[in-house]
């Protein structure tokens, strides 16, 4: 059984100015020990998906319209708030994007870790404090700093604390929402290494939300590429990196500057992400896709399996390879 399975999840923000189609029928599956990279541009619905899984979407305006979120076979959408509170943190933990604001500014960091342990660890306050110290040392911060406040830490250290909180109760699944975006590159590597190491230690699965394909290649074994609220390509790292099938994925890779070639200009993807409150008809990517034809603008492609575990939403997989169309 998969640890997490998402079926046809649709999330909308119902605002006064019209509905925002943030997540449009995504399917995902994750087994124990997997690290899934969720890649996409800003506004593709990555964070909304993450908040949707934990059922902590700001409501109103966020609403899960349809779909199932099966965690260990049970639908999180049917759980009571009480049951969800036990799952949040204890079973599924989240690492937030911005370590500067993800910690309560007037609580000692040790207390913030201890709070998590106290909520889920079935232990006394004193024991929670001690386990918090242990956790802090595990992420490489000396225990005596547990009585410091967040503003006394650097960004990288704050993110370590956030990670310590997330891992404190040995969750089965960690959702890391761009955990390294706010950090500089040297610290990014350290933090990623540490996360990987701890993940192996505890044996959890992870959903890593990022827009850095380098990070994905290094840490993930499965990749889902999101565009305008849809997963347009899903597969193992090998599938996505070596057998890229969707023109958008291909263009994403092409937009990364290469160290070996000398180029004067970068190759961005022309155009902008469509406005999620006013999505184009047919394939969401067709206005920016150089290979699009009439069908693409008229009909929306359904997820199709190219090979085992490699699905794609496109009428013309591999179309960028010399115009060969399978579609």
């Amino acid at each position: 059984m998969n640890l997490l399975e998402i079926k046809d999840l649709t999330i909308r923000y119902l605002t006064d100015d019209g509905d925002v189609y943030a997540v449009n029928g995504i399917d995902l599956s994750l087994s124990s020990g997997d690290t899934l990279g969720l890649v996409g541009e800003t506004g593709a619905g990555k964070t909304t998906t993450a908040l949707g899984i934990l059922r902590i979407l700001p409501d109103p305006p966020g609403k899960i319209m349809s779909g199932e979120i099966l965690y260990q076979g049970e639908d999180l959408r049917k759980k009571s708030q009480e049951e969800l509170r036990r799952i949040r943190g204890g079973e599924i933990a989240m690492i937030f994007q911005d370590p500067m604001t993800a910690l309560n500014p007037i609580m000692r960091v040790g207390d913030q870790i201890a709070e998590m342990i106290f909520l889920h660890g079935n232990c006394s306050k004193d024991e929670a404090d001690l386990r918090a110290l242990e956790m802090l040392e595990k992420v490489g911060i000396p225990g005596e700093r547990s009585s410091d406040y967040p503003h006394q830490f650097s960004g990288g250290m704050k993110q370590r604390v956030v990670i310590a909180i997330a891992l404190a109760c040995m969750p089965k699944l960690i959702i890391a929402d761009e955990p390294t975006t706010a950090l500089d590159v040297t610290i990014q590597a350290q933090v990623l290494d540490m996360m990987n190491r701890l993940k192996e230690d505890i044996g959890t699965s992870m959903i890593l939300i990022t827009h850095d394909l380098g990070v994905v290649a290094e840490t993930c074994n499965k990749v889902a590429i999101m565009y305008a609220g849809e997963i347009i390509e899903f597969g193992t790292v090998e599938h996505i990196f070596n057998e890229t099938a969707h023109p958008y994925s291909k263009m994403l890779f092409d937009s990364i500057p290469s160290l070996d070639e000398r180029v004067d200009r970068l190759h961005p993807i022309a155009g902008l992400m469509p406005d999620p409150s006013n999505l184009p008809s047919g394939c969401k990517f067709h206005p920016r896709c150089p290979y699009a034809d009439e069908t693409c603008g008229r009909e929306a492609p359904m997820p199709e399996e190219l090979s085992s575990g490699h699905t794609i939403r496109c009428f013309k997989p591999y179309c960028f390879k010399g115009g060969v169309s399978n579609g």
């Binding site: 908040l51 949040r88 937030f96 309560n104 001690l130 242990e134 009585s147």
Partner: protein, 299 residues
Amino acid sequence: MSSVTQADIQTGNSGTRLKRKSNFSGICKRFCRNKMAVVSLVVIVLLVLIAIFADFVAPYDYAKQDIANRFLMPCLAHPLGTDNFGRDLLSRIIYGGRISLLVAIMSVAISLVCGGFLGATAGYFGGRYESIVMRIMDIIMAIPAFLLAVSISSMLGSGLQNTALAIAVGGIPSSARMLRATVLQLKDQQFTEAARAMGNSDMAIIFKHILPNTLSPILVDCTLKIGMSILQISGLSFVGLGVQPPTPEWGSILAGGREYIRDFWPLSTFPGIAIVMAMCAFNLLGDGLRDALDPRMKR
């Protein structure tokens, strides 16, 4: 302690207890650095002590009249002079502090607890609940605070608790509005989201994560309100609703001196000084406390 050993964990030997202590001493240290705050704390403690031990401190009975010696200017026998009935002004101000301070603190506490709870929950939950609560607050706010206090206290009758309650009701909307605004701002911060992702209940998030962050506006609001309450009590006493004569109370002594302000200045000046002193002390204490309690102000 640089590392935690297994033995530490088993024996429960940790810096935990030490930590709590250092927290309090840190606050004290930061508070003491602010000279004005320390002075104001001393003033408030003195005022409270004098009010509590008024029976021993006051040189005369506050109600004892001595018509022969009315309108005495400050002298050795009567350090602050006597009033229009020949009562010792110093004794009256000392006893008056009891009522003024007690009622002011009580009313501020009531309005802060009620208004704070309503405002914080309204800001956090939003939706229809927020609309209903805040519209009720607007309605209360539309009525002049003093008129409201007068009508409530004439409904409940005079007396300490009733006066405090009457004044408190008028203060609820402003506390509610202030807390709602602060909570709205904090609600969207990521640490609130993180607290939710941790599995906290709504009430735990409000009381453990959001409210402690609203401390500085609360303290400023409180200290300002204490001063206003002292003035409102005097207003109520003036129209005969608050504290009944001959029980002294700063505001009513001041109001009584109004008629003689041209001919006999001490009667309105000294209670006025007492009120100003208390208000200043509370304001400065509030400032100092805010700075001392906020860990971000730590150097």
